[in-house]
Each structure stands twice: as C-alpha cells, then as structure tokens.
C-alpha cells in the first residue's frame, strides 16, 4: 500500500494515462484473486490476530499483495518480540 501511495505522489497524477494505470493496477490484482478490498482487509486483520495469539507482535505488521508478472503473492511481514 505504501508503494502504491508513493507511486501516486511521485508521478504526474493529473494525466489521465496515469490515472488509468493506477486504477488498472488495483482492479486487476483484485480481479485475478477474485478478492474485494474489504475481504483483503479482513484477511489482514485475521492473520494478525492469529499471530498475536501465539507471539508478541512488535511494531507495525504489514500484510499486502505483491505482483510479479501475472502471479500474485501475499506478502506478510510481522515483526515479533524476542525474549
């Protein structure tokens, strides 16, 4: 999500071509997984809850979709506290 926001602000956002590209990025990654943004959000929350049941989470956990070619992966980065 952070990358996505960065992209928006570093490009000339006013051009309709860039708007089309940004809208397509979002729509295509959700289409390919058959996943709505709401489902993705509740998935994120669930993953964090499951981890928190077993480990102490340290800092801010990140759960996001990354795409490489036509493949999409769920990128989960959850820092945990050591003893």
């Amino acid at each position: 999500m952070l990358d996505f926001i960065k992209k928006i602000y570093t490009r000339d956002e006013s051009s309709s071509r860039n708007q089309a590209n940004n809208r397509l990025r979002v729509v295509l990654s959700h289409d390919r997984l058959n996943l709505t943004p709401e489902t993705l959000n509740s998935l994120k929350e669930d993953i964090i809850v499951v981890i928190a049941n077993h480990l102490d989470i340290d800092g801010s956990p990140e759960v996001r979709l990354i795409t490489e070619g036509r493949n999409t992966a769920l990128d989960i980065s959850i820092p945990v506290k050591g003893r």
Binding site: S15, S16, R17, N21, L24, V27, L28, D31, R32, R70
Partner: protein, 273 residues
C-alpha cells in the same frame, strides 16, 4: 516456414470485450497470410451475430453455414466460401439465426481436425464474452491472439481472458493492441504499449494504430491490407509476417505529430526523394 509440409496452425482471436477489432484483425491477418501464398481458412464462431462475411466482403457468396455442416446438412467443402480475390483464402460462415450453445467444443475440434490437412492456418473469430461461444472457439486452437484497445475496460476484459486461456492450458498467448493513438499517448491521455504489457504480462505480436482507412475499407468490403498508404494495413501485414516467424521491428510511431511530419517532409525533400 514451408508452405507444403508444415503442420497446420489453429489460431483463435479473442478479446473478452466486444468491439475492439477481433473480426477486423481476423479478416486482415488471414487475407495477408493468403496473399503470401499460405492456405488459410477463417472460421466465424460468432453464431447469431455474424460479421466476418461482411467485413471480408463475402456476404453474397454464403450458401451454407457452420451449424449446417455440424448437423450434416452439407459437407464442409460445400460450406467453405472461397475468396476469388485471394484464392488461398476460405471462409466457414457462422449461422445467423441459431444459437452459440447449439454447437459444442468437441464438434468444433472435430471440424478443425478435418480442416488441418488442407490448410496452413485456420483462424477462429471468437465471439465476445466468456460463455459457451468462447469455450467453443478456444477448444481446437493451438495458439491464442488477444486483441485489446488502450482503454481500461478492454484491458480488464483482456486480463480475464488471458487468465481463462492460461487455465485452459494455452502456452502461446500473444497480444495485439488495436486502435492506439500515438499523439494521445504522448500527451498522457492514453495508455501506452508499455503500460499494456506491464498490466497484461504477455508478449506483443502487433500494434495497430487508429486509422480512418479501416472504416472506408469496411464500408466497401475490401481488405485494408491492400491499401499501401494505410498505417493499419502495414500493422496487419506485419502481424501476419510475425505469425510466419519473420522478425519484424515495431515502428516507434514517433513521426506523426504535425511538427514531426513537417520535419520528415523537409528531410525527404532535401534528400531528393
């Protein structure tokens, strides 16, 4: 590619969205292949909404259709319409008053295997949509060409179609971008070829610029590829050449703003051409 002994290639042309130029692509690429001397058959699978006969200018020569062949009312040979202008080009017409679910993928496969020995290429014009008509059209094909336009709705549908082709086991899927306007891309008002490849992640086979000549040719029922002043004609001929394995460079489309054209004109005048 050896014309006589090479195996037949069955190519489906598809898009998901309607109106992006599938039939125009099928008509012109197949005419171009036939003009080069390859034996080509085109199969219109848009049953109920046929267009290929009209685009090819063969509407008055149609006697039988694909459903009649499948139902045994006539032979395949009787139904194939031969283009008198391009003797190597044959068209199997769609039925206009029937339905897409009146034929099955197996029947299309069967028809294609009957055609393979007699042709170098069979091009299948796929109907829009992702239902039965689409399944019929992809059943017998070895390769797929996905046609899209540089606009969000066409790209989204193309992406869905590519996903479905991949799940159906297609290894060879290539992209044709139709109706691009280089001037609009340069001004940031249209998706570029690079943008489309980034989104769809498949190899590019051809780029066809927006060209008024296409409308004129379609009105007349003549193939655009015969017009040597048309940029779309060049693009369709290049696609046909890439299909037979030639390496053809992609034009950069840099030279068509007013100033670029003026500069080009000056260059040509002073170089004495």
């Amino acid at each position: 590619m050896d014309k006589k002994n090479s195996e037949c290639h069955v190519i489906v042309v598809t898009s998901g969205k309607g109106g992006v130029g599938k039939t125009t692509t099928v008509a012109n690429v197949s005419t171009s292949l036939a003009k080069m001397g390859y034996r080509v058959a085109v199969m219109d699978l848009d049953i109920g909404l046929k267009k290929l006969d009209l685009i090819l200018g063969l509407e008055n020569r149609v006697i039988y259709d694909i459903v009649q062949v499948i139902e045994g009312e006539c032979t395949l040979k009787q139904a194939l319409v031969r283009d008198k202008r391009f003797p190597e080009l044959h068209m199997l017409p769609a039925a206009q008053t029937r339905n897409k679910d009146e034929i099955t993928p197996e029947q299309v496969k069967d028809l294609c295997s009957q055609m393979r020995p007699d042709f170098d290429f069979v091009l299948i014009d796929c109907p829009a949509g992702i239902e039965q008509g689409f399944r019929n059209a992809i059943a017998a094909a070895d390769q797929a060409l996905v046609v899209t336009n540089p606009e969000v709705s066409a790209v989204r549908d193309a992406d869905r179609i590519i996903g479905m082709l991949e799940s159906a086991g297609f290894q060879d899927i290539k992209l044709i971008v139709n109706r691009i306007r280089p001037d609009m891309v340069r001004h940031g008002d249209m998706l570029s070829i690079e943008d489309l490849i980034e989104h769809l992640c498949i190899d590019l086979l051809g780029v066809v610029p927006e060209d008024r000549n296409v409308v004129v040719s379609t009105n007349r029922g003549e193939p655009i590829i015969l017009n040597d002043r048309s940029s779309a004609a060049l693009a369709f001929n290049n696609i046909a050449r890439r299909i037979i394995g030639e390496e053809v460079e992609f034009p950069t489309f840099q030279d068509d703003s007013f100033w670029d054209r003026l500069r080009g004109l000056g260059r040509n005048l002073f170089s004495g051409r």
